[in-house]
Symmetry: C2
Subunit: 154 residues, 2 copies
């Protein structure tokens, strides 16, 4: 199952990453193989898990989610149970885009999208500090999104 990716596969991955709606015929021509081969290879990239999904990128501001906030979280205790219950709880909060367990001054880093600061303040007070085991949080409001969710380089 640990199959390799040749130059054509990589090219297809890069093209699909930047234009996920390319038709099979277009993709085939761009990478220089027949439509049949391209179709087979694309399907393999999906089947073997190189591509985990295809997502339309929705403009946050256009759907009322123009505010971005980074939050550092410190837990009360550093036990496996404490981590586990925090992670279970946070997976239910749909406004959390990223949640990463990190090494350093914080236990977790969160990336959150909300409508505005007022929105965030309500959520912070009602949902974030109420999460199991949270000792303190540190909020970093994003003032300018220089690069957001850039495509992966490989």
């Amino acid at each position: 199952m640990a199959s390799r990716l040749d130059r054509i596969d990589l090219k297809m991955l890069r093209l699909l990453q930047n234009s996920g709606r390319l038709s099979n015929a277009e993709l085939a021509e761009m990478v220089g193989v027949s439509a049949a081969t391209c179709h087979r290879r694309t399907q393999r990239l999906f089947d073997e898990g190189f591509i985990t999904g295809v997502r339309a990128l929705v403009a946050p501001r256009r759907v009322g989610k123009g505010a971005l906030v980074m939050v550092g979280v410190v837990l009360d205790r550093s036990t496996p149970e404490s981590f586990a219950s925090f992670e279970t709880a946070i997976a239910r909060l749909k406004f959390v885009l990223d949640c990463h367990l990190v090494a350093g001054d914080f236990d977790y880093f969160l990336k959150i999208r909300v409508g505005d600061m007022e929105d965030f303040n309500r959520i912070h007070g009602e949902q974030l500090i109420a999460l199991p085991g949270v000792r303190q949080t540190r909020t970093f409001f994003v003032m300018k999104e220089v690069v957001d969710n850039a495509p992966l380089e490989f």
Copy 2:
């Protein structure tokens, strides 16, 4: 141009966000309109900027980018020129997935994908601290990706 989104548009956005490769016919049936109407509405969502692109999600580990690092950056000076030159320089670094200007103890927060820690150390020494105006950086290695790049809720 500030057109509204009705219930059908929102449904289409959510469906496309989670399955960007849905065919027009499938989408039409899911939201309960004809293929012609669905096609027109989808095109409008693109033309008017509600959908900014469609991206295949590539599994980072499968392409040798399994390590994730968060980095806080502090600049020497807080002048507009200083910020501008930093932002220009960082936009060229393809391993930077996120770069956000924040309010708080840091000036910028970065989200970076690399192959492994050794890889990051080299990049940190050769490229990050060499960026214009960087006084100090604080590195948070991600030990566990609990939620990464979740779809936007709206």
